[in-house]
Protein backbone atom coordinates (compact mmCIF):
# COMPACT_ATOMS: atom_id res chain seq x y z
CA UNK A 1 0.00 0.00 0.00
CA UNK A 2 2.85 2.41 0.87
CA UNK A 3 4.52 1.51 -2.40
CA UNK A 4 1.40 2.58 -4.33
CA UNK A 5 1.23 5.81 -2.36
CA UNK A 6 4.93 6.52 -2.99
CA UNK A 7 4.57 6.06 -6.75
CA UNK A 8 1.22 7.76 -7.28
CA UNK A 9 0.68 10.38 -4.58
CA UNK A 10 1.02 13.24 -7.06
CA UNK A 11 -1.62 11.72 -9.34
CA UNK A 12 -3.94 11.39 -6.32
CA UNK A 13 -3.33 14.98 -5.27
CA UNK A 14 -3.35 17.01 -8.49
CA UNK A 15 -3.90 14.52 -11.32
CA UNK A 16 -1.63 14.94 -14.34
CA UNK A 17 -1.45 18.67 -13.71
CA UNK A 18 1.55 20.33 -15.32
CA UNK A 19 1.25 17.96 -18.30
CA UNK A 20 -2.52 17.62 -18.41
CA UNK A 21 -5.68 18.98 -16.81
CA UNK A 22 -5.78 19.59 -13.05
CA UNK A 23 -7.33 16.60 -11.32
CA UNK A 24 -7.15 14.48 -8.20
CA UNK A 25 -8.04 15.69 -4.73
CA UNK A 26 -7.40 19.32 -5.71
CA UNK A 27 -10.12 19.13 -8.36
CA UNK A 28 -12.49 17.33 -5.97
CA UNK A 29 -12.12 20.17 -3.48
CA UNK A 30 -12.38 22.83 -6.16
CA UNK A 31 -15.60 21.36 -7.55
CA UNK A 32 -17.13 21.01 -4.08
CA UNK A 33 -16.28 24.59 -3.08
CA UNK A 34 -17.31 26.08 -6.43
CA UNK A 35 -20.65 24.30 -6.58
CA UNK A 36 -21.55 25.10 -2.97
CA UNK A 37 -20.60 28.77 -3.44
CA UNK A 38 -22.51 29.06 -6.73
CA UNK A 39 -25.63 27.34 -5.42
CA UNK A 40 -25.83 29.47 -2.28
CA UNK A 41 -27.81 32.41 -3.77
CA UNK A 42 -30.23 29.99 -5.44
CA UNK A 43 -30.65 28.12 -2.16
CA UNK A 44 -31.46 31.34 -0.26
CA UNK A 45 -33.93 32.31 -2.99
CA UNK A 46 -35.63 28.91 -2.89
CA UNK A 47 -35.84 28.97 0.91
CA UNK A 48 -37.39 32.48 0.92
CA UNK A 49 -39.82 31.44 -1.84
CA UNK A 50 -40.88 28.36 0.14
CA UNK A 51 -41.62 30.54 3.18
CA UNK A 52 -43.42 33.16 1.11
CA UNK A 53 -47.10 33.89 1.78
CA UNK A 54 -47.75 34.05 -2.01
CA UNK A 55 -48.77 30.69 -3.50
CA UNK A 56 -47.33 31.58 -6.95
CA UNK A 57 -43.88 31.71 -5.31
CA UNK A 58 -44.32 28.98 -2.72
CA UNK A 59 -45.82 26.22 -4.86
CA UNK A 60 -43.21 26.18 -7.68
CA UNK A 61 -40.38 26.30 -5.13
CA UNK A 62 -41.93 23.40 -3.20
CA UNK A 63 -42.36 21.45 -6.44
CA UNK A 64 -38.71 22.02 -7.44
CA UNK A 65 -37.40 20.86 -4.06
CA UNK A 66 -39.67 17.79 -4.05
CA UNK A 67 -38.66 16.76 -7.56
CA UNK A 68 -34.94 17.16 -6.86
CA UNK A 69 -35.29 15.16 -3.64
CA UNK A 70 -37.12 12.40 -5.51
CA UNK A 71 -34.45 11.76 -8.15
CA UNK A 72 -31.04 10.10 -7.89
CA UNK A 73 -28.08 12.45 -8.40
CA UNK A 74 -26.87 10.33 -11.31
CA UNK A 75 -30.01 11.27 -13.30
CA UNK A 76 -29.06 14.94 -12.94
CA UNK A 77 -25.51 14.13 -14.00
CA UNK A 78 -26.78 12.56 -17.23
CA UNK A 79 -29.31 15.33 -17.91
CA UNK A 80 -26.58 17.95 -17.47
CA UNK A 81 -24.19 15.85 -19.57
CA UNK A 82 -26.60 15.70 -22.53
CA UNK A 83 -28.43 19.03 -22.15
CA UNK A 84 -25.69 21.54 -21.32
CA UNK A 85 -23.84 21.23 -24.69
CA UNK A 86 -27.19 21.89 -26.43
CA UNK A 87 -27.89 24.94 -24.27
CA UNK A 88 -24.38 26.39 -24.48
CA UNK A 89 -23.84 25.42 -28.11
CA UNK A 90 -20.34 23.99 -27.61
CA UNK A 91 -18.88 20.88 -25.97
CA UNK A 92 -18.92 21.14 -22.17
CA UNK A 93 -16.19 19.44 -20.13
CA UNK A 94 -16.78 16.91 -17.36
CA UNK A 95 -15.82 19.30 -14.57
CA UNK A 96 -18.20 22.03 -15.74
CA UNK A 97 -20.98 19.48 -16.22
CA UNK A 98 -20.53 18.18 -12.69
CA UNK A 99 -20.49 21.70 -11.23
CA UNK A 100 -23.73 22.55 -13.07
CA UNK A 101 -25.30 19.32 -11.75
CA UNK A 102 -24.22 19.93 -8.19
CA UNK A 103 -25.41 23.56 -8.24
CA UNK A 104 -28.93 22.43 -9.18
CA UNK A 105 -28.94 19.46 -6.81
CA UNK A 106 -27.36 21.15 -3.81
CA UNK A 107 -29.51 24.29 -4.16
CA UNK A 108 -32.58 22.20 -3.34
CA UNK A 109 -30.98 20.45 -0.36
CA UNK A 110 -29.28 23.59 0.97
CA UNK A 111 -32.58 25.50 0.70
CA UNK A 112 -34.09 22.99 3.14
CA UNK A 113 -31.24 23.66 5.57
CA UNK A 114 -31.71 27.42 5.24
CA UNK A 115 -35.47 27.12 5.62
CA UNK A 116 -35.01 25.15 8.85
CA UNK A 117 -32.61 27.85 10.07
CA UNK A 118 -35.12 30.62 9.33
CA UNK A 119 -38.02 28.71 10.87
CA UNK A 120 -35.92 28.08 13.98
CA UNK A 121 -35.68 31.80 14.75
CA UNK A 122 -38.01 33.13 17.44
CA UNK A 123 -41.04 34.89 15.91
CA UNK A 124 -40.34 37.96 18.05
CA UNK A 125 -37.37 38.87 15.85
CA UNK A 126 -39.53 39.55 12.79
CA UNK A 127 -42.27 41.15 14.89
CA UNK A 128 -39.78 43.48 16.57
CA UNK A 129 -38.30 44.46 13.19
CA UNK A 130 -41.80 45.16 11.84
CA UNK A 131 -42.59 47.19 14.93
CA UNK A 132 -39.46 49.24 14.26
CA UNK A 133 -40.85 50.04 10.83
CA UNK A 134 -38.56 47.82 8.71
CA UNK A 135 -39.98 46.36 5.49
CA UNK A 136 -39.61 42.78 4.22
CA UNK A 137 -36.18 43.12 2.57
CA UNK A 138 -34.42 45.06 5.37
CA UNK A 139 -35.87 42.60 7.89
CA UNK A 140 -34.78 39.57 5.86
CA UNK A 141 -31.33 40.86 4.95
CA UNK A 142 -30.25 42.40 8.22
CA UNK A 143 -32.29 40.57 10.89
CA UNK A 144 -33.41 37.11 9.72
CA UNK A 145 -30.66 35.83 7.42
CA UNK A 146 -27.62 36.80 9.52
CA UNK A 147 -29.05 35.03 12.58
CA UNK A 148 -30.31 32.05 10.61
CA UNK A 149 -26.97 31.60 8.82
CA UNK A 150 -25.18 31.75 12.15
CA UNK A 151 -27.18 28.87 13.66
CA UNK A 152 -26.93 26.96 10.37
CA UNK A 153 -23.12 26.87 10.24
CA UNK A 154 -22.79 23.24 11.39
CA UNK A 155 -25.37 22.05 8.84
CA UNK A 156 -23.55 23.99 6.13
CA UNK A 157 -20.33 22.15 6.95
CA UNK A 158 -22.22 18.83 6.75
CA UNK A 159 -23.59 19.93 3.39
CA UNK A 160 -20.03 20.60 2.26
CA UNK A 161 -19.09 17.04 3.27
CA UNK A 162 -22.03 15.68 1.24
CA UNK A 163 -20.92 17.75 -1.74
CA UNK A 164 -17.37 16.37 -1.52
CA UNK A 165 -18.79 12.85 -1.50
CA UNK A 166 -21.09 13.64 -4.42
CA UNK A 167 -18.21 14.84 -6.62
CA UNK A 168 -17.13 11.17 -6.78
CA UNK A 169 -19.87 10.77 -9.41
CA UNK A 170 -17.61 12.74 -11.74
CA UNK A 171 -16.08 9.33 -12.43
CA UNK A 172 -19.17 8.39 -14.47
CA UNK A 173 -18.66 11.28 -16.91
CA UNK A 174 -14.84 11.21 -16.75
CA UNK A 175 -14.39 14.43 -14.80
CA UNK A 176 -10.80 14.35 -13.56
CA UNK A 177 -11.25 14.14 -9.80
CA UNK A 178 -9.79 11.83 -7.19
CA UNK A 179 -12.02 8.77 -7.86
CA UNK A 180 -11.12 9.03 -11.54
CA UNK A 181 -7.43 9.27 -10.58
CA UNK A 182 -7.75 6.12 -8.47
CA UNK A 183 -9.40 4.30 -11.37
CA UNK A 184 -6.44 5.33 -13.57
CA UNK A 185 -3.95 4.04 -11.00
CA UNK A 186 -5.94 0.83 -10.73
CA UNK A 187 -5.84 0.37 -14.50
CA UNK A 188 -2.07 0.84 -14.47
CA UNK A 189 -1.42 -1.62 -11.64
CA UNK A 190 -4.20 -4.11 -12.42
CA UNK A 191 -3.26 -6.47 -9.57
CA UNK A 192 -3.94 -4.47 -6.41
CA UNK A 193 -7.50 -3.14 -6.61
CA UNK A 194 -8.17 -3.52 -2.88
CA UNK A 195 -5.12 -1.46 -1.96
CA UNK A 196 -5.87 1.28 -4.51
CA UNK A 197 -9.54 1.69 -3.60
CA UNK A 198 -8.75 1.26 0.08
CA UNK A 199 -6.34 4.16 -0.24
CA UNK A 200 -9.04 6.18 -2.00
CA UNK A 201 -11.54 5.41 0.76
CA UNK A 202 -8.95 6.42 3.35
CA UNK A 203 -8.34 9.72 1.54
CA UNK A 204 -12.03 10.61 1.50
CA UNK A 205 -12.44 9.44 5.07
CA UNK A 206 -9.62 11.60 6.42
CA UNK A 207 -10.94 14.70 4.68
CA UNK A 208 -14.62 14.17 5.44
CA UNK A 209 -14.15 12.96 9.01
CA UNK A 210 -12.06 16.03 9.83
CA UNK A 211 -14.84 18.25 8.45
CA UNK A 212 -17.58 16.28 10.23
CA UNK A 213 -15.68 16.70 13.50
CA UNK A 214 -15.47 20.45 12.81
CA UNK A 215 -19.23 20.50 12.30
CA UNK A 216 -19.74 18.74 15.64
CA UNK A 217 -17.44 21.18 17.41
CA UNK A 218 -19.31 24.12 15.87
CA UNK A 219 -22.62 22.64 16.89
CA UNK A 220 -21.40 22.23 20.46
CA UNK A 221 -20.12 25.82 20.55
CA UNK A 222 -23.34 27.23 19.09
CA UNK A 223 -25.56 25.20 21.39
CA UNK A 224 -24.30 27.14 24.40
CA UNK A 225 -26.63 30.03 25.21
CA UNK A 226 -25.52 32.97 23.14
CA UNK A 227 -26.11 35.66 25.79
CA UNK A 228 -23.79 33.82 28.15
CA UNK A 229 -21.08 33.50 25.48
CA UNK A 230 -21.43 37.22 24.79
CA UNK A 231 -21.20 38.03 28.49
CA UNK A 232 -18.01 35.98 28.78
CA UNK A 233 -16.54 37.75 25.80
CA UNK A 234 -17.36 41.17 27.22
CA UNK A 235 -15.95 40.40 30.66
CA UNK A 236 -12.88 38.92 28.96
CA UNK A 237 -12.42 42.15 27.02
CA UNK A 238 -12.54 44.15 30.28
CA UNK A 239 -9.64 42.23 31.72
Amino acid sequence: MLEILKDNWLLFLIGQYPYGPLGGLAMTLFMAIASLALCFPFAVGLALARLSPYPWLRLPATAIVTIVRGLPLIMFVFWAYFLSPLVVGRPVGGVETLIITLVVYEAAYLSEVIRAGIEGLPKGQVQAATALGLGYWPTTLSIVLPQALHTMLPSMVSQFVSTIKETSLGYVISAHEVTFAAAQVNNLLLTQPFEVYGLLALTYFTLCFALTSCARLLEWRLSRPRSQAGATRISGANI
Binding site: T66, I67, R69, G70, L71, P72, L73, I74, M75, F78, W79, F82, V161, I164, K165, E166, S168, L169, Y171, V172, T179, A182, A183, N186, T191, Q192, P193, F194, E195, V196, Y197, G198, L200, A201, Y204, F205, C208, F209, T212
Partner: protein, 232 residues
Protein backbone atom coordinates in the same frame (compact mmCIF):
# COMPACT_ATOMS: atom_id res chain seq x y z
CA UNK B 1 -33.56 15.02 -32.82
CA UNK B 2 -36.41 16.75 -34.66
CA UNK B 3 -39.00 15.32 -32.31
CA UNK B 4 -37.36 16.17 -29.02
CA UNK B 5 -39.84 14.33 -26.82
CA UNK B 6 -41.55 11.30 -28.24
CA UNK B 7 -41.20 8.63 -25.58
CA UNK B 8 -43.38 6.27 -27.59
CA UNK B 9 -40.33 5.20 -29.60
CA UNK B 10 -38.41 3.97 -26.59
CA UNK B 11 -41.44 2.31 -25.02
CA UNK B 12 -41.93 -0.31 -27.70
CA UNK B 13 -40.77 -3.86 -28.30
CA UNK B 14 -37.49 -4.82 -26.72
CA UNK B 15 -36.90 -1.37 -25.26
CA UNK B 16 -40.02 -1.81 -23.17
CA UNK B 17 -38.54 -5.12 -21.98
CA UNK B 18 -35.26 -3.43 -21.12
CA UNK B 19 -37.03 -0.83 -19.02
CA UNK B 20 -39.13 -3.51 -17.32
CA UNK B 21 -35.95 -5.46 -16.53
CA UNK B 22 -34.38 -2.28 -15.20
CA UNK B 23 -37.30 -1.50 -12.88
CA UNK B 24 -37.33 -5.10 -11.66
CA UNK B 25 -33.59 -5.08 -10.90
CA UNK B 26 -33.80 -1.69 -9.17
CA UNK B 27 -36.65 -2.87 -6.94
CA UNK B 28 -35.04 -6.23 -6.13
CA UNK B 29 -31.73 -4.51 -5.39
CA UNK B 30 -33.53 -2.05 -3.10
CA UNK B 31 -35.33 -4.87 -1.29
CA UNK B 32 -32.20 -7.03 -0.88
CA UNK B 33 -30.10 -4.11 0.38
CA UNK B 34 -32.92 -3.01 2.66
CA UNK B 35 -33.19 -6.43 4.35
CA UNK B 36 -29.42 -6.51 4.86
CA UNK B 37 -29.48 -2.94 6.19
CA UNK B 38 -32.23 -3.65 8.71
CA UNK B 39 -30.59 -6.86 9.96
CA UNK B 40 -27.13 -5.34 10.33
CA UNK B 41 -28.61 -2.09 11.68
CA UNK B 42 -30.45 -3.91 14.50
CA UNK B 43 -27.33 -6.00 15.24
CA UNK B 44 -25.22 -2.83 15.43
CA UNK B 45 -27.72 -1.23 17.82
CA UNK B 46 -27.68 -4.31 20.06
CA UNK B 47 -23.86 -4.41 20.05
CA UNK B 48 -23.72 -0.73 20.91
CA UNK B 49 -25.98 -1.28 23.94
CA UNK B 50 -23.64 -3.92 25.42
CA UNK B 51 -21.92 -2.67 28.57
CA UNK B 52 -18.34 -3.17 27.27
CA UNK B 53 -16.83 0.13 26.06
CA UNK B 54 -14.97 -1.22 22.97
CA UNK B 55 -18.29 -2.43 21.52
CA UNK B 56 -19.58 1.13 21.31
CA UNK B 57 -16.30 2.29 19.75
CA UNK B 58 -16.42 -0.44 17.12
CA UNK B 59 -19.97 0.46 16.12
CA UNK B 60 -19.01 4.15 16.12
CA UNK B 61 -16.10 3.43 13.77
CA UNK B 62 -18.40 1.41 11.48
CA UNK B 63 -20.90 4.26 11.32
CA UNK B 64 -18.23 6.93 10.71
CA UNK B 65 -16.59 4.93 7.91
CA UNK B 66 -19.85 4.50 6.05
CA UNK B 67 -20.90 8.12 6.53
CA UNK B 68 -17.61 9.71 5.46
CA UNK B 69 -16.69 7.68 2.38
CA UNK B 70 -18.65 8.22 -0.87
CA UNK B 71 -21.02 5.36 -1.63
CA UNK B 72 -19.54 4.97 -5.11
CA UNK B 73 -16.10 4.36 -3.58
CA UNK B 74 -17.58 1.80 -1.18
CA UNK B 75 -19.18 0.03 -4.14
CA UNK B 76 -15.84 0.04 -6.01
CA UNK B 77 -14.05 -1.33 -2.96
CA UNK B 78 -16.54 -4.19 -2.77
CA UNK B 79 -16.66 -4.89 -6.49
CA UNK B 80 -13.00 -4.47 -7.48
CA UNK B 81 -11.25 -4.91 -4.14
CA UNK B 82 -12.94 -7.59 -2.06
CA UNK B 83 -13.01 -10.39 -4.69
CA UNK B 84 -9.22 -10.04 -5.11
CA UNK B 85 -8.86 -11.03 -1.45
CA UNK B 86 -11.15 -14.04 -1.75
CA UNK B 87 -9.90 -17.55 -2.57
CA UNK B 88 -10.24 -18.66 -6.17
CA UNK B 89 -13.33 -20.90 -5.77
CA UNK B 90 -15.25 -18.09 -4.08
CA UNK B 91 -14.37 -15.74 -6.92
CA UNK B 92 -15.54 -18.26 -9.50
CA UNK B 93 -18.77 -18.73 -7.59
CA UNK B 94 -19.30 -14.95 -7.61
CA UNK B 95 -18.65 -14.73 -11.33
CA UNK B 96 -21.14 -17.48 -11.98
CA UNK B 97 -23.83 -16.05 -9.69
CA UNK B 98 -24.20 -12.43 -10.80
CA UNK B 99 -21.42 -11.11 -8.58
CA UNK B 100 -22.10 -7.49 -9.60
CA UNK B 101 -25.61 -7.63 -8.18
CA UNK B 102 -24.58 -9.42 -4.96
CA UNK B 103 -21.64 -7.12 -4.26
CA UNK B 104 -23.66 -3.99 -5.07
CA UNK B 105 -26.42 -5.17 -2.72
CA UNK B 106 -23.80 -5.84 -0.01
CA UNK B 107 -22.20 -2.42 -0.40
CA UNK B 108 -25.54 -0.59 -0.46
CA UNK B 109 -26.96 -2.60 2.44
CA UNK B 110 -23.93 -2.22 4.72
CA UNK B 111 -23.78 1.52 4.06
CA UNK B 112 -27.50 1.94 4.80
CA UNK B 113 -27.09 -0.16 7.95
CA UNK B 114 -24.95 2.59 9.49
CA UNK B 115 -27.81 5.08 9.06
CA UNK B 116 -30.47 2.58 10.18
CA UNK B 117 -28.48 1.91 13.38
CA UNK B 118 -28.40 5.65 14.10
CA UNK B 119 -32.16 5.97 13.48
CA UNK B 120 -33.02 3.10 15.81
CA UNK B 121 -30.64 4.43 18.45
CA UNK B 122 -32.18 7.89 18.42
CA UNK B 123 -35.59 6.22 18.60
CA UNK B 124 -34.56 4.39 21.79
CA UNK B 125 -32.92 7.54 23.16
CA UNK B 126 -36.11 9.53 22.72
CA UNK B 127 -37.89 7.31 25.27
CA UNK B 128 -37.52 8.83 28.76
CA UNK B 129 -35.59 6.67 31.26
CA UNK B 130 -38.62 6.78 33.57
CA UNK B 131 -40.48 4.45 31.18
CA UNK B 132 -37.84 1.77 31.65
CA UNK B 133 -37.64 2.33 35.39
CA UNK B 134 -41.43 2.21 35.74
CA UNK B 135 -41.49 -1.06 33.81
CA UNK B 136 -38.82 -2.50 36.15
CA UNK B 137 -40.79 -1.44 39.21
CA UNK B 138 -43.85 -3.19 37.77
CA UNK B 139 -41.83 -6.41 37.85
CA UNK B 140 -40.58 -6.65 34.23
CA UNK B 141 -37.04 -7.89 33.60
CA UNK B 142 -34.63 -6.16 31.18
CA UNK B 143 -35.90 -8.06 28.13
CA UNK B 144 -39.54 -7.76 29.15
CA UNK B 145 -39.21 -4.01 29.70
CA UNK B 146 -37.46 -3.60 26.36
CA UNK B 147 -39.93 -5.74 24.44
CA UNK B 148 -43.17 -4.51 26.01
CA UNK B 149 -42.45 -0.92 26.95
CA UNK B 150 -39.36 0.67 25.38
CA UNK B 151 -39.11 -0.85 21.89
CA UNK B 152 -42.76 -0.39 20.82
CA UNK B 153 -42.46 3.31 21.60
CA UNK B 154 -38.95 3.60 20.15
CA UNK B 155 -40.01 2.00 16.85
CA UNK B 156 -42.83 4.49 16.63
CA UNK B 157 -40.24 7.26 16.65
CA UNK B 158 -37.93 5.39 14.28
CA UNK B 159 -40.41 4.51 11.51
CA UNK B 160 -40.56 7.91 9.73
CA UNK B 161 -36.73 8.19 9.52
CA UNK B 162 -36.56 4.55 8.39
CA UNK B 163 -38.97 5.27 5.53
CA UNK B 164 -36.76 8.21 4.58
CA UNK B 165 -33.80 5.79 4.55
CA UNK B 166 -35.76 3.56 2.18
CA UNK B 167 -36.11 6.50 -0.19
CA UNK B 168 -32.37 7.22 -0.04
CA UNK B 169 -31.56 3.54 -0.57
CA UNK B 170 -33.90 3.37 -3.57
CA UNK B 171 -32.20 6.39 -5.17
CA UNK B 172 -28.72 5.11 -4.32
CA UNK B 173 -29.26 1.84 -6.21
CA UNK B 174 -28.68 3.94 -9.35
CA UNK B 175 -24.96 3.99 -8.45
CA UNK B 176 -24.80 0.25 -9.14
CA UNK B 177 -24.80 1.10 -12.86
CA UNK B 178 -21.14 2.11 -12.47
CA UNK B 179 -20.19 -1.55 -11.96
CA UNK B 180 -22.57 -2.84 -14.63
CA UNK B 181 -25.63 -3.95 -12.66
CA UNK B 182 -28.56 -3.88 -15.10
CA UNK B 183 -30.78 -1.54 -13.10
CA UNK B 184 -32.91 1.33 -14.37
CA UNK B 185 -30.17 3.91 -15.04
CA UNK B 186 -28.03 1.28 -16.77
CA UNK B 187 -30.95 0.24 -18.98
CA UNK B 188 -31.73 3.88 -19.80
CA UNK B 189 -28.15 4.29 -21.02
CA UNK B 190 -28.46 1.07 -23.04
CA UNK B 191 -31.69 2.27 -24.69
CA UNK B 192 -30.08 5.66 -25.30
CA UNK B 193 -27.01 4.25 -27.05
CA UNK B 194 -29.18 1.85 -29.07
CA UNK B 195 -31.78 4.37 -30.28
CA UNK B 196 -29.95 7.74 -29.94
CA UNK B 197 -33.21 9.01 -28.43
CA UNK B 198 -31.27 10.40 -25.49
CA UNK B 199 -33.93 12.59 -23.95
CA UNK B 200 -36.75 10.12 -24.40
CA UNK B 201 -34.78 7.34 -22.73
CA UNK B 202 -33.79 9.47 -19.77
CA UNK B 203 -37.24 11.07 -19.51
CA UNK B 204 -38.76 7.61 -19.07
CA UNK B 205 -36.20 6.65 -16.39
CA UNK B 206 -36.64 10.01 -14.64
CA UNK B 207 -40.42 9.57 -14.63
CA UNK B 208 -40.17 6.10 -13.11
CA UNK B 209 -37.74 7.20 -10.40
CA UNK B 210 -39.92 10.18 -9.56
CA UNK B 211 -43.12 8.11 -9.37
CA UNK B 212 -41.63 5.56 -6.97
CA UNK B 213 -39.93 8.27 -4.87
CA UNK B 214 -43.14 10.29 -4.56
CA UNK B 215 -44.94 7.10 -3.51
CA UNK B 216 -42.38 6.49 -0.75
CA UNK B 217 -42.55 10.17 0.32
CA UNK B 218 -46.37 10.03 0.58
CA UNK B 219 -46.15 6.81 2.57
CA UNK B 220 -43.63 8.46 4.89
CA UNK B 221 -45.87 11.51 5.39
CA UNK B 222 -48.90 9.29 6.06
CA UNK B 223 -46.95 7.22 8.59
CA UNK B 224 -45.60 10.30 10.33
CA UNK B 225 -49.14 11.64 10.64
CA UNK B 226 -50.59 8.38 11.97
CA UNK B 227 -47.73 7.65 14.35
CA UNK B 228 -47.44 11.16 15.75
CA UNK B 229 -47.12 10.77 19.47
CA UNK B 230 -49.70 12.81 21.31
CA UNK B 231 -48.27 15.58 23.47
CA UNK B 232 -49.06 14.82 27.04
Amino acid sequence: MIHLFEPGGVLEGRYLDWFALGIGTTLVLTAAAWCLALTVGILLTLIRMLPARPCAWLVGAYVEYHRNVPLLVQIFLWYFGVPSLLPRPARQWLNAHDGQFLLAATALGLAAAAYVAEDIRSGIRSIPKGQYQAALSLGFGYLGAMRNVVLPQALRHAIPPLINQTLLLFKNTSLAMAIGVGELTYRARAVESDTFQTFDAFAVATGIYLAVSLGIMLLGAACARRLRVGTR
